[in-house]
Symmetry: C2
Subunit: 287 residues, 2 copies
């Protein structure tokens, strides 16, 4: 038996499409409506089975939704949530899949604060993805065993957290909650910084040397292939913390440089061994 | 029919062990002798089938070798090659698998310059590996489709280049030749820098944030788990060029930081898109 009669997904790219596929495979929704600006993407999402129906009119698409997930680039999420909240049924739960949380949640909370009743919102961020984009790369198992961060605030009704947690868990994810600020602080280092590092390493490599790159370079730069239109707004939305993360990275690289320049092999080996241990500890945590 | 009667491999870790497995699977050697300092490693290599026989005495191990590969950490390769050259048959070809070339090749060339006849040497570097070490992770297909750089000098006899090329090609690799200096200049950026970047990114990540890392962080830091005892000597052997590569990386990161700080989205997007294209171009080159 389906958990939801109608689920609407705004933005049917890799994440939105994977939510649709997971809902369908797990028989959690009777009907999945995809909402997007481009008919092309909607058709592609329908073709892979991620949605039952694709519409370009947001208000029409959300009119019967019990659950709505906004999975667009971070610079458009707050606006879409506020628009959807005006058109969705009053018992609808709205969440998102944005990689930054503080600005989105603050904008939505402020816009919905004056309302009495109506759809509830709580921010989410599934720590799952791929450097490839588009519904054609969507996977029903994208969230299995992955972490989803839910970011309630003082304005969030507890029932919304419970329901959003249940939704992500029903897709196989593990849920953790924290404030939007703490989320953005951590993700600046664990996600936004690695993307900028991969981009810088790729940019620093002369094209003529590409044939001399092997698995080390390829692993380290893999996420540099990610979509600029998705990532530039993420960096901008979390700018101050990303700048701090870049400074931390520069200092750490500078420390390695100094040890190498001065032939301080003891420090070098200690740093390498500590990093190797931390990296193995991470793998021991599982996916 | 075997190409070689006896092949000796000094250092039976991941690379040396994989050479042994590949030779055996492709039936290229009648007998494979592993040479190492620790009986443990030799026993492990024999157990996985990488060598037929393990000995701790270098002179005894190389006495009947037609081909000798030195696959030890880079700070010990030159010494082992010179020792082996004194004990190996005069028609033996000696090569190595070191990640740096200039210092090794110069030391060996100088040591062997005064000799007339005797074993020939040419430096090699297979661009293949893994962050895991030891013969238990050796794979017969490690070199298939990978690039091996051979680094002849004015002192190298052309026949040695031909024979070394044939050897690596017989393991499925593609061979390219360049000077030791050019190799070290390129690899400082394509291999040594990514390792230091992965180590710095791991070191910069607070342990408490590890549960909030996903596939992006994990890809970008994967090679930080590599063995410090193998990598510290590589950084030290190629120090000046690695320092230059670190400076190039810092400048590139600094440029990204400046664009982000000043809200220069045009530059950011252009940099991201150029990196994504370069990264995809690399994948198009194949393994």
């Amino acid at each position: 038996m389906a958990e939801y009669d109608t689920v609407a997904i705004v933005g049917v790219g890799l994440i939105g499409g994977s939510i649709g596929l997971a809902l369908r495979e797990r028989k959690l929704a009777r009907r999945i409506i995809g909402i997007g600006r481009r008919q092309n993407s909607l058709d592609a999402a329908r073709k892979v089975g991620a949605i039952d129906q694709g519409v370009t009119n947001l208000a029409a698409g959300v009119a019967e939704a019990q659950l709505l997930i906004v999975a667009t680039p971070v610079d458009t999420i707050a606006e879409r949530v506020v628009q959807a909240a005006a058109a969705a049924p009053s018992d609808c739960l709205i969440t998102d899949a944005g990689s930054t949380k503080e600005a989105i949640v603050a904008t939505v909370d402020a816009a919905l604060a004056s309302r009495r009743g109506g759809p509830r919102f709580v921010g989410s961020h599934p720590l799952a993805g791929d450097h490839r984009t588009g519904p054609q790369h969507a996977r029903a198992d994208l969230f299995e065993g992955r972490t989803v961060v839910i970011t309630p605030t003082d304005a969030t009704r507890p029932a919304a957290v419970t329901e959003a947690s249940g939704f992500w868990q029903s897709l196989g994810a593990n849920v953790t909650t924290m404030t939007p600020a703490r989320h953005d602080l951590a993700l600046a280092i664990t996600s936004h910084l690695p993307h900028l590092v991969a981009i810088a390493l790729t940019a620093a490599t002369p094209t003529e040397y590409l044939p001399l790159t092997a698995s080390g370079w390829r692993d380290t730069t893999r996420i540099a292939a990610a979509d600029a239109k998705i990532w530039q707004p993420i960096f901008a939305a979390n700018r101050e913390r990303v700048l701090d993360a870049l400074d931390l990275m520069s200092q750490t690289l500078g420390g390695l440089r100094e040890a190498l320049e001065h032939g301080d092999n003891e420090t070098l080996i200690a740093t390498l061994e500590a990093a190797a241990k931390k990296r193995r500890d991470r793998d021991a945590l599982g996916d």
